[in-house]
Protein backbone atom coordinates (compact mmCIF):
# COMPACT_ATOMS: atom_id res chain seq x y z
CA UNK A 1 0.00 0.00 0.00
CA UNK A 2 1.20 3.50 -0.86
CA UNK A 3 0.48 6.37 1.53
CA UNK A 4 1.45 9.99 1.01
CA UNK A 5 0.78 12.63 3.62
CA UNK A 6 1.70 16.31 3.74
CA UNK A 7 3.79 15.86 0.59
CA UNK A 8 5.18 19.08 -0.86
CA UNK A 9 7.64 19.36 -3.75
CA UNK A 10 9.84 22.37 -4.43
CA UNK A 11 12.15 23.40 -7.26
CA UNK A 12 14.34 26.12 -5.81
CA UNK A 13 11.91 28.70 -4.48
CA UNK A 14 9.00 27.41 -6.55
CA UNK A 15 6.54 25.10 -4.77
CA UNK A 16 5.23 22.70 -7.43
CA UNK A 17 3.12 20.51 -5.12
CA UNK A 18 1.68 21.46 -1.75
CA UNK A 19 0.49 19.30 1.12
CA UNK A 20 -0.75 16.30 -0.83
CA UNK A 21 -2.40 13.32 0.87
CA UNK A 22 -2.94 10.21 -1.24
CA UNK A 23 -3.43 6.50 -0.72
CA UNK A 24 -3.38 3.56 -3.11
CA UNK A 25 -4.18 0.08 -1.86
CA UNK A 26 -2.69 -3.26 -2.91
CA UNK A 27 -4.21 -4.33 -6.23
CA UNK A 28 -5.66 -0.87 -6.83
CA UNK A 29 -5.01 1.43 -9.79
CA UNK A 30 -5.11 5.14 -8.98
CA UNK A 31 -4.93 7.97 -11.49
CA UNK A 32 -3.48 11.44 -11.13
CA UNK A 33 -5.09 13.64 -13.74
CA UNK A 34 -4.53 17.29 -14.46
CA UNK A 35 -3.20 19.71 -17.00
CA UNK A 36 0.46 19.99 -17.95
CA UNK A 37 2.32 21.54 -14.99
CA UNK A 38 -0.32 20.53 -12.41
CA UNK A 39 2.31 18.59 -10.43
CA UNK A 40 1.62 14.98 -11.45
CA UNK A 41 5.20 14.12 -12.46
CA UNK A 42 6.58 15.99 -9.44
CA UNK A 43 4.59 13.73 -7.12
CA UNK A 44 5.91 10.58 -8.82
CA UNK A 45 9.47 11.88 -8.71
CA UNK A 46 9.10 12.77 -5.03
CA UNK A 47 7.86 9.25 -4.25
CA UNK A 48 11.05 7.87 -5.84
CA UNK A 49 13.26 10.47 -4.14
CA UNK A 50 14.12 12.29 -7.35
CA UNK A 51 12.70 15.68 -6.35
CA UNK A 52 13.23 17.87 -3.30
CA UNK A 53 10.25 17.20 -1.08
CA UNK A 54 8.91 17.25 2.46
CA UNK A 55 6.19 15.18 4.05
CA UNK A 56 5.78 11.45 4.32
CA UNK A 57 5.98 8.65 1.72
CA UNK A 58 5.20 5.16 3.03
CA UNK A 59 5.05 1.81 1.25
CA UNK A 60 3.50 -1.06 3.22
CA UNK A 61 4.09 0.96 6.37
CA UNK A 62 7.81 1.58 5.70
CA UNK A 63 8.79 5.25 5.70
CA UNK A 64 10.76 6.09 2.56
CA UNK A 65 11.36 9.77 3.28
CA UNK A 66 15.06 10.58 3.46
CA UNK A 67 16.13 7.45 1.61
CA UNK A 68 17.98 7.69 -1.73
CA UNK A 69 16.18 6.53 -4.89
CA UNK A 70 18.07 3.22 -5.15
CA UNK A 71 16.95 2.34 -1.61
CA UNK A 72 13.34 3.19 -2.53
CA UNK A 73 13.51 0.90 -5.57
CA UNK A 74 14.74 -1.86 -3.25
CA UNK A 75 11.68 -1.16 -1.06
CA UNK A 76 9.32 -1.84 -3.94
CA UNK A 77 8.75 1.41 -5.83
CA UNK A 78 9.31 1.56 -9.60
CA UNK A 79 8.76 4.30 -12.16
CA UNK A 80 8.27 4.27 -15.90
CA UNK A 81 9.17 7.92 -16.50
CA UNK A 82 7.63 10.43 -18.86
CA UNK A 83 9.59 10.39 -22.11
CA UNK A 84 10.55 6.73 -21.53
CA UNK A 85 14.22 7.42 -20.78
CA UNK A 86 15.44 4.02 -21.94
CA UNK A 87 19.22 3.60 -22.23
CA UNK A 88 19.53 4.35 -25.94
CA UNK A 89 22.86 2.66 -26.63
CA UNK A 90 21.98 -0.53 -24.81
CA UNK A 91 20.05 -3.49 -26.15
CA UNK A 92 16.57 -4.42 -24.93
CA UNK A 93 18.02 -7.19 -22.77
CA UNK A 94 20.66 -4.86 -21.29
CA UNK A 95 17.93 -2.34 -20.48
CA UNK A 96 15.96 -5.06 -18.71
CA UNK A 97 19.07 -6.06 -16.79
CA UNK A 98 19.46 -2.48 -15.54
CA UNK A 99 16.01 -2.72 -13.94
CA UNK A 100 16.80 -6.07 -12.30
CA UNK A 101 17.58 -5.89 -8.58
CA UNK A 102 17.47 -9.53 -7.51
CA UNK A 103 15.89 -12.94 -7.99
CA UNK A 104 15.96 -15.18 -11.05
CA UNK A 105 17.02 -12.95 -13.95
CA UNK A 106 16.36 -15.38 -16.84
CA UNK A 107 12.88 -16.21 -15.48
CA UNK A 108 11.99 -12.54 -14.93
CA UNK A 109 13.31 -11.65 -18.37
CA UNK A 110 11.22 -14.43 -19.90
CA UNK A 111 8.13 -13.09 -18.06
CA UNK A 112 8.70 -9.64 -19.55
CA UNK A 113 9.27 -10.98 -23.06
CA UNK A 114 6.06 -12.98 -22.73
CA UNK A 115 4.19 -9.92 -21.50
CA UNK A 116 5.61 -7.79 -24.32
CA UNK A 117 6.17 -10.11 -27.34
CA UNK A 118 7.39 -7.17 -29.42
CA UNK A 119 10.41 -6.87 -27.11
CA UNK A 120 11.36 -10.50 -27.78
CA UNK A 121 11.61 -9.68 -31.50
CA UNK A 122 13.78 -6.70 -30.64
CA UNK A 123 15.78 -8.27 -27.78
CA UNK A 124 19.23 -7.55 -29.20
CA UNK A 125 18.31 -4.24 -30.86
CA UNK A 126 19.57 -0.95 -29.44
CA UNK A 127 16.76 0.71 -27.49
CA UNK A 128 17.44 4.08 -29.08
CA UNK A 129 16.61 2.70 -32.51
CA UNK A 130 13.12 1.44 -31.53
CA UNK A 131 9.78 3.18 -32.08
CA UNK A 132 8.14 5.28 -29.36
CA UNK A 133 5.61 2.54 -28.58
CA UNK A 134 8.32 -0.11 -28.30
CA UNK A 135 10.40 2.15 -26.06
CA UNK A 136 7.35 2.68 -23.85
CA UNK A 137 6.87 -1.09 -23.55
CA UNK A 138 10.55 -1.40 -22.67
CA UNK A 139 10.35 1.35 -20.04
CA UNK A 140 7.42 -0.41 -18.38
CA UNK A 141 9.08 -3.84 -18.62
CA UNK A 142 12.29 -2.40 -17.17
CA UNK A 143 10.32 -0.98 -14.23
CA UNK A 144 8.60 -4.35 -13.70
CA UNK A 145 12.00 -6.13 -13.59
CA UNK A 146 12.38 -4.98 -9.97
CA UNK A 147 9.13 -6.79 -9.08
CA UNK A 148 7.70 -3.63 -7.51
CA UNK A 149 4.87 -3.34 -5.03
CA UNK A 150 4.02 0.06 -6.47
CA UNK A 151 4.38 0.74 -10.20
CA UNK A 152 4.22 4.39 -11.24
CA UNK A 153 3.48 5.19 -14.88
CA UNK A 154 4.15 8.76 -15.94
CA UNK A 155 2.34 9.75 -19.15
CA UNK A 156 2.69 6.26 -20.65
CA UNK A 157 0.38 6.97 -23.59
CA UNK A 158 1.80 10.34 -24.63
CA UNK A 159 2.15 10.46 -28.41
CA UNK A 160 1.34 6.77 -28.90
CA UNK A 161 -1.07 5.09 -31.31
CA UNK A 162 -4.54 4.08 -29.97
CA UNK A 163 -3.65 0.38 -30.23
CA UNK A 164 -0.70 0.87 -27.86
CA UNK A 165 -2.90 2.91 -25.51
CA UNK A 166 -5.34 -0.01 -25.38
CA UNK A 167 -2.46 -2.40 -24.62
CA UNK A 168 -1.28 -0.23 -21.74
CA UNK A 169 -4.81 -0.02 -20.37
CA UNK A 170 -5.11 -3.83 -20.52
CA UNK A 171 -1.72 -4.17 -18.86
CA UNK A 172 -2.83 -2.02 -15.92
CA UNK A 173 -5.80 -4.34 -15.46
CA UNK A 174 -3.52 -7.38 -15.52
CA UNK A 175 -1.07 -5.92 -12.99
CA UNK A 176 -3.95 -5.14 -10.62
CA UNK A 177 -5.04 -8.76 -10.65
CA UNK A 178 -1.49 -9.69 -9.61
CA UNK A 179 -1.85 -7.49 -6.53
CA UNK A 180 0.31 -4.62 -7.74
CA UNK A 181 -0.51 -1.03 -6.85
CA UNK A 182 -0.51 1.15 -9.95
CA UNK A 183 -0.23 4.94 -9.83
CA UNK A 184 -0.93 6.46 -13.23
CA UNK A 185 -0.17 10.09 -14.07
CA UNK A 186 -1.91 11.06 -17.30
CA UNK A 187 -3.02 14.05 -19.28
CA UNK A 188 -5.23 11.66 -21.26
CA UNK A 189 -7.96 11.79 -18.61
CA UNK A 190 -10.37 9.63 -20.58
CA UNK A 191 -7.90 6.75 -20.71
CA UNK A 192 -6.75 7.30 -17.10
CA UNK A 193 -10.28 7.28 -15.69
CA UNK A 194 -11.18 4.20 -17.74
CA UNK A 195 -8.10 2.27 -16.62
CA UNK A 196 -8.19 3.01 -12.88
CA UNK A 197 -10.35 2.47 -9.80
CA UNK A 198 -9.92 5.88 -8.21
CA UNK A 199 -8.49 9.20 -9.28
CA UNK A 200 -7.14 12.45 -7.91
CA UNK A 201 -7.56 15.66 -9.86
CA UNK A 202 -4.62 18.05 -9.57
CA UNK A 203 -4.59 21.78 -10.28
CA UNK A 204 -1.45 23.88 -9.75
CA UNK A 205 -0.04 21.51 -7.15
CA UNK A 206 -3.24 20.98 -5.15
CA UNK A 207 -5.78 18.15 -5.14
CA UNK A 208 -9.09 19.66 -6.17
CA UNK A 209 -11.20 16.51 -6.48
CA UNK A 210 -10.95 12.83 -5.67
CA UNK A 211 -13.19 9.80 -5.90
CA UNK A 212 -13.97 6.65 -7.87
CA UNK A 213 -12.80 7.02 -11.46
CA UNK A 214 -16.20 6.11 -12.89
CA UNK A 215 -17.88 8.77 -10.75
CA UNK A 216 -15.34 11.43 -11.77
CA UNK A 217 -15.76 10.48 -15.42
CA UNK A 218 -19.48 11.20 -15.06
CA UNK A 219 -18.96 14.52 -13.25
CA UNK A 220 -19.97 17.36 -15.62
CA UNK A 221 -17.25 19.70 -14.35
CA UNK A 222 -14.53 17.04 -14.85
CA UNK A 223 -15.96 16.14 -18.25
CA UNK A 224 -15.83 19.79 -19.32
CA UNK A 225 -12.36 20.50 -17.93
CA UNK A 226 -10.50 17.28 -18.77
CA UNK A 227 -12.52 15.22 -21.22
CA UNK A 228 -13.43 18.04 -23.57
CA UNK A 229 -17.12 17.09 -23.44
Amino acid sequence: MLELSGLSVTYGKVRAVEDIALTAARGEAVALIGANGAGKSSILKAILGLATSSGSVRVDGTELTGRPSHARVMRGVALSPEGRHVFPQMSVLENLEMGFIGGDFPALCEDMLELFPRLRERSSQLAGSMSGGEQQMLAIARALMSRPKVLMLDEPTLGLAPIIVDQIRALIGLLKTKGMTVLLAEQNAEMALAATDRAYVLETGHITATGPSAKLAADPAIRRAYLGL
Binding site: L48, L50, P68, S69, H70, R72, V73, M74, A78, L79, P81, H85, V86, F87, P88, Q89, M90, E94, E97, M98, G99, I101, R142, A143, S146
Partner: protein, 289 residues
Amino acid sequence: MLELLLQQAVNGLTQGMAYALVALGLTMIFGVLHIINFSHGELYMLGGLMAVVATTMLGLPYGLALVLAVVAVVAIAALVDLVAVRPVLPTKDGPSTVLLSTFAVSLLLHQSVLSTWGPNPSRVEGLAGSLSLGPIVITNHRLLVLVSGVVILLAIEYVLRRTLVGRRIRAVAQSEFAAQVVGIDVARIRTLTFLGAAAIAAIAGALIAPVSLFTPSMGQHAIITAFVVVVIGGMGNATGAVVCGLLLGLLEALASAFMPQDMGTAVIYALLLIFLLIRPQGLFAGRAR
Protein backbone atom coordinates in the same frame (compact mmCIF):
# COMPACT_ATOMS: atom_id res chain seq x y z
CA MET B 1 65.55 7.80 -43.18
CA LEU B 2 63.01 4.99 -43.06
CA GLU B 3 64.83 3.55 -40.05
CA LEU B 4 64.55 6.86 -38.24
CA LEU B 5 60.85 7.09 -39.03
CA LEU B 6 60.15 3.55 -37.84
CA GLN B 7 62.15 4.06 -34.65
CA GLN B 8 60.33 7.31 -33.97
CA ALA B 9 57.02 5.56 -34.64
CA VAL B 10 57.77 2.94 -31.99
CA ASN B 11 58.83 5.63 -29.52
CA GLY B 12 55.75 7.68 -30.36
CA LEU B 13 53.38 4.75 -29.90
CA THR B 14 54.88 4.08 -26.46
CA GLN B 15 54.30 7.66 -25.35
CA GLY B 16 50.94 7.61 -27.15
CA MET B 17 49.86 4.62 -25.09
CA ALA B 18 50.47 6.63 -21.92
CA TYR B 19 48.48 9.55 -23.38
CA ALA B 20 45.70 7.14 -24.34
CA LEU B 21 45.46 5.70 -20.84
CA VAL B 22 45.44 9.13 -19.15
CA ALA B 23 42.91 10.47 -21.67
CA LEU B 24 40.75 7.37 -21.26
CA GLY B 25 40.48 7.99 -17.52
CA LEU B 26 39.77 11.66 -18.09
CA THR B 27 37.05 10.92 -20.64
CA MET B 28 35.48 8.20 -18.46
CA ILE B 29 35.21 10.68 -15.60
CA PHE B 30 33.71 13.25 -17.95
CA GLY B 31 31.26 10.72 -19.40
CA VAL B 32 30.01 9.46 -16.05
CA LEU B 33 30.46 12.40 -13.65
CA HIS B 34 30.20 15.18 -16.26
CA ILE B 35 33.18 16.91 -14.72
CA ILE B 36 36.71 17.71 -15.81
CA ASN B 37 39.14 16.38 -13.23
CA PHE B 38 42.09 18.72 -13.52
CA SER B 39 44.07 16.74 -10.93
CA HIS B 40 44.07 13.65 -13.15
CA GLY B 41 47.51 14.46 -14.60
CA GLU B 42 49.00 14.70 -11.11
CA LEU B 43 47.65 11.23 -10.30
CA TYR B 44 49.61 10.04 -13.34
CA MET B 45 52.67 11.88 -12.00
CA LEU B 46 52.19 10.27 -8.57
CA GLY B 47 52.11 6.85 -10.27
CA GLY B 48 55.57 7.65 -11.66
CA LEU B 49 56.75 8.92 -8.29
CA MET B 50 55.60 5.75 -6.57
CA ALA B 51 57.55 3.71 -9.12
CA VAL B 52 60.70 5.73 -8.28
CA VAL B 53 60.17 5.44 -4.53
CA ALA B 54 59.43 1.71 -4.68
CA THR B 55 62.34 0.74 -6.94
CA THR B 56 65.12 3.12 -5.89
CA MET B 57 64.33 3.88 -2.23
CA LEU B 58 62.57 0.71 -1.10
CA GLY B 59 64.45 -1.60 -3.47
CA LEU B 60 61.29 -3.39 -4.54
CA PRO B 61 61.05 -5.21 -7.86
CA TYR B 62 59.39 -3.24 -10.66
CA GLY B 63 56.26 -5.45 -10.73
CA LEU B 64 55.63 -4.75 -7.06
CA ALA B 65 56.25 -1.05 -7.70
CA LEU B 66 53.36 -1.07 -10.18
CA VAL B 67 51.04 -2.56 -7.55
CA LEU B 68 52.21 -0.05 -4.92
CA ALA B 69 51.65 2.82 -7.37
CA VAL B 70 48.07 1.76 -8.00
CA VAL B 71 47.23 1.27 -4.31
CA ALA B 72 48.80 4.57 -3.23
CA VAL B 73 47.31 6.64 -6.05
CA VAL B 74 43.83 5.15 -5.63
CA ALA B 75 44.01 6.04 -1.92
CA ILE B 76 44.98 9.63 -2.79
CA ALA B 77 42.25 9.78 -5.45
CA ALA B 78 39.69 8.64 -2.87
CA LEU B 79 40.75 11.59 -0.73
CA VAL B 80 40.50 13.95 -3.72
CA ASP B 81 37.00 12.60 -4.45
CA LEU B 82 35.99 13.06 -0.82
CA VAL B 83 37.38 16.57 -0.45
CA ALA B 84 37.25 18.22 -3.88
CA VAL B 85 34.54 16.43 -5.87
CA ARG B 86 31.67 15.00 -3.80
CA PRO B 87 30.98 18.07 -1.64
CA VAL B 88 31.31 20.43 -4.62
CA LEU B 89 29.37 18.58 -7.33
CA PRO B 90 25.84 19.04 -5.91
CA THR B 91 26.29 22.80 -5.49
CA LYS B 92 25.09 25.39 -7.99
CA ASP B 93 27.42 25.31 -11.03
CA GLY B 94 28.94 22.14 -9.52
CA PRO B 95 30.81 20.86 -12.60
CA SER B 96 32.46 24.26 -13.19
CA THR B 97 33.38 24.51 -9.52
CA VAL B 98 34.86 20.98 -9.59
CA LEU B 99 37.14 22.13 -12.42
CA LEU B 100 38.49 24.81 -10.06
CA SER B 101 38.64 22.61 -6.96
CA THR B 102 40.52 19.85 -8.81
CA PHE B 103 42.80 22.51 -10.33
CA ALA B 104 43.62 23.58 -6.77
CA VAL B 105 44.31 19.94 -5.86
CA SER B 106 46.50 19.65 -8.96
CA LEU B 107 48.62 22.64 -7.87
CA LEU B 108 48.79 21.32 -4.32
CA LEU B 109 50.01 17.89 -5.42
CA HIS B 110 52.47 19.31 -7.94
CA GLN B 111 53.97 21.84 -5.54
CA SER B 112 54.16 19.31 -2.71
CA VAL B 113 56.16 16.87 -4.84
CA LEU B 114 58.27 19.64 -6.38
CA SER B 115 59.24 21.09 -3.00
CA THR B 116 60.07 17.73 -1.42
CA TRP B 117 61.52 15.85 -4.40
CA GLY B 118 63.08 18.70 -6.38
CA PRO B 119 62.74 19.48 -10.08
CA ASN B 120 65.45 17.15 -11.41
CA PRO B 121 64.50 14.08 -13.41
CA SER B 122 64.79 10.74 -11.62
CA ARG B 123 65.60 7.46 -13.24
CA VAL B 124 63.44 4.41 -12.72
CA GLU B 125 64.73 0.94 -13.49
CA GLY B 126 62.21 -0.82 -15.67
CA LEU B 127 62.64 -4.02 -17.63
CA ALA B 128 66.21 -4.47 -18.89
CA GLY B 129 67.22 -5.58 -22.38
CA SER B 130 65.96 -4.86 -25.84
CA LEU B 131 64.63 -6.50 -28.95
CA SER B 132 65.95 -5.89 -32.45
CA LEU B 133 63.52 -6.05 -35.35
CA GLY B 134 65.72 -5.41 -38.36
CA PRO B 135 66.84 -1.81 -38.13
CA ILE B 136 64.51 -1.00 -35.22
CA VAL B 137 65.48 -1.49 -31.62
CA ILE B 138 62.65 -1.79 -29.09
CA THR B 139 63.61 -1.89 -25.45
CA ASN B 140 61.86 -4.54 -23.44
CA HIS B 141 60.34 -1.85 -21.29
CA ARG B 142 58.78 -0.06 -24.27
CA LEU B 143 57.37 -3.41 -25.29
CA LEU B 144 55.99 -3.82 -21.77
CA VAL B 145 54.30 -0.40 -22.01
CA LEU B 146 52.67 -1.30 -25.33
CA VAL B 147 51.58 -4.80 -24.29
CA SER B 148 50.36 -3.64 -20.85
CA GLY B 149 48.48 -0.79 -22.48
CA VAL B 150 46.69 -3.14 -24.88
CA VAL B 151 45.87 -5.55 -22.03
CA ILE B 152 44.50 -2.70 -19.89
CA LEU B 153 42.39 -1.38 -22.78
CA LEU B 154 41.00 -4.85 -23.50
CA ALA B 155 40.29 -5.37 -19.80
CA ILE B 156 38.40 -2.05 -19.62
CA GLU B 157 36.42 -2.97 -22.72
CA TYR B 158 35.60 -6.34 -21.15
CA VAL B 159 34.50 -4.78 -17.86
CA LEU B 160 32.32 -2.15 -19.56
CA ARG B 161 30.62 -4.60 -21.95
CA ARG B 162 30.59 -7.93 -20.11
CA THR B 163 30.15 -7.20 -16.41
CA LEU B 164 27.14 -5.86 -14.52
CA VAL B 165 29.11 -3.06 -12.89
CA GLY B 166 30.50 -2.07 -16.30
CA ARG B 167 27.03 -1.97 -17.83
CA ARG B 168 25.87 0.14 -14.89
CA ILE B 169 28.74 2.56 -15.57
CA ARG B 170 27.58 2.77 -19.21
CA ALA B 171 23.99 3.25 -18.05
CA VAL B 172 24.94 6.22 -15.86
CA ALA B 173 26.98 7.67 -18.75
CA GLN B 174 23.97 7.36 -21.09
CA SER B 175 21.36 8.78 -18.71
CA GLU B 176 21.94 9.61 -15.07
CA PHE B 177 18.21 10.22 -14.58
CA ALA B 178 17.24 6.83 -16.01
CA ALA B 179 19.94 5.19 -13.90
CA GLN B 180 18.42 6.71 -10.76
CA VAL B 181 14.95 5.66 -11.90
CA VAL B 182 15.96 2.00 -12.16
CA GLY B 183 17.64 2.06 -8.76
CA ILE B 184 21.31 2.21 -9.69
CA ASP B 185 23.38 3.70 -6.87
CA VAL B 186 24.71 6.54 -9.01
CA ALA B 187 26.98 7.93 -6.27
CA ARG B 188 28.70 4.54 -5.95
CA ILE B 189 29.15 4.26 -9.72
CA ARG B 190 30.66 7.76 -9.81
CA THR B 191 33.16 6.87 -7.09
CA LEU B 192 34.07 3.59 -8.79
CA THR B 193 34.66 5.40 -12.08
CA PHE B 194 36.75 8.10 -10.42
CA LEU B 195 38.92 5.55 -8.63
CA GLY B 196 39.14 3.26 -11.68
CA ALA B 197 40.36 6.18 -13.79
CA ALA B 198 42.92 7.02 -11.07
CA ALA B 199 44.19 3.42 -11.11
CA ILE B 200 44.66 3.58 -14.89
CA ALA B 201 46.52 6.90 -14.56
CA ALA B 202 48.75 5.41 -11.85
CA ILE B 203 49.68 2.41 -14.01
CA ALA B 204 50.34 4.70 -16.97
CA GLY B 205 52.62 6.94 -14.87
CA ALA B 206 54.49 4.00 -13.38
CA LEU B 207 54.85 2.35 -16.80
CA ILE B 208 56.15 5.42 -18.61
CA ALA B 209 58.56 6.62 -15.88
CA PRO B 210 61.39 4.21 -16.90
CA VAL B 211 60.99 5.38 -20.54
CA SER B 212 60.89 9.14 -20.16
CA LEU B 213 62.31 9.62 -16.63
CA PHE B 214 60.25 10.87 -13.72
CA THR B 215 59.84 14.60 -13.17
CA PRO B 216 57.29 16.39 -10.96
CA SER B 217 56.07 18.27 -14.04
CA MET B 218 55.21 15.15 -16.07
CA GLY B 219 51.60 15.39 -14.87
CA GLN B 220 51.14 18.90 -16.23
CA HIS B 221 52.26 17.93 -19.72
CA ALA B 222 50.12 14.78 -19.53
CA ILE B 223 46.91 16.56 -18.51
CA ILE B 224 47.21 19.17 -21.25
CA THR B 225 47.89 16.50 -23.87
CA ALA B 226 45.04 14.37 -22.49
CA PHE B 227 42.69 17.36 -22.86
CA VAL B 228 43.76 17.70 -26.49
CA VAL B 229 43.19 13.96 -27.00
CA VAL B 230 39.75 14.12 -25.38
CA VAL B 231 38.70 17.17 -27.41
CA ILE B 232 39.88 15.63 -30.68
CA GLY B 233 38.48 12.20 -29.82
CA GLY B 234 35.13 13.55 -28.60
CA MET B 235 34.28 14.37 -24.98
CA GLY B 236 33.22 11.23 -23.08
CA ASN B 237 34.16 8.86 -25.91
CA ALA B 238 36.49 6.01 -24.87
CA THR B 239 37.33 4.86 -28.40
CA GLY B 240 38.17 8.42 -29.39
CA ALA B 241 40.49 8.79 -26.39
CA VAL B 242 42.44 5.62 -27.19
CA VAL B 243 42.76 6.15 -30.94
CA CYS B 244 43.63 9.85 -30.65
CA GLY B 245 46.03 9.24 -27.75
CA LEU B 246 48.03 6.79 -29.83
CA LEU B 247 47.90 9.02 -32.92
CA LEU B 248 49.01 12.07 -30.97
CA GLY B 249 51.95 10.23 -29.47
CA LEU B 250 52.91 9.09 -32.94
CA LEU B 251 52.50 12.56 -34.44
CA GLU B 252 54.47 14.20 -31.65
CA ALA B 253 57.38 11.77 -32.11
CA LEU B 254 57.41 12.02 -35.91
CA ALA B 255 57.19 15.81 -35.81
CA SER B 256 60.10 15.90 -33.36
CA ALA B 257 62.22 13.99 -35.88
CA PHE B 258 61.95 16.77 -38.44
CA MET B 259 61.41 19.88 -36.37
CA PRO B 260 63.25 21.60 -33.54
CA GLN B 261 62.79 20.05 -30.12
CA ASP B 262 59.39 20.76 -28.53
CA MET B 263 57.89 21.64 -31.89
CA GLY B 264 56.10 18.29 -31.72
CA THR B 265 54.16 19.61 -28.73
CA ALA B 266 53.42 22.82 -30.62
CA VAL B 267 51.97 20.73 -33.46
CA ILE B 268 49.59 19.09 -30.96
CA TYR B 269 48.31 22.47 -29.72
CA ALA B 270 47.89 23.64 -33.31
CA LEU B 271 45.78 20.53 -33.93
CA LEU B 272 43.65 21.35 -30.89
CA LEU B 273 42.96 24.82 -32.26
CA ILE B 274 42.08 23.46 -35.70
CA PHE B 275 39.68 20.89 -34.26
CA LEU B 276 38.01 23.44 -31.98
CA LEU B 277 37.40 25.59 -35.05
CA ILE B 278 36.24 22.99 -37.56
CA ARG B 279 34.97 20.00 -35.53
CA PRO B 280 34.47 20.99 -31.87
CA GLN B 281 32.42 17.84 -31.16
CA GLY B 282 35.50 15.69 -31.91
CA LEU B 283 36.21 12.92 -34.39
CA PHE B 284 34.22 10.20 -32.64
CA ALA B 285 31.26 12.24 -31.40
CA GLY B 286 28.01 10.30 -31.22
CA ARG B 287 29.66 6.87 -31.21
CA ALA B 288 28.56 4.24 -28.68
CA ARG B 289 29.28 4.80 -25.02
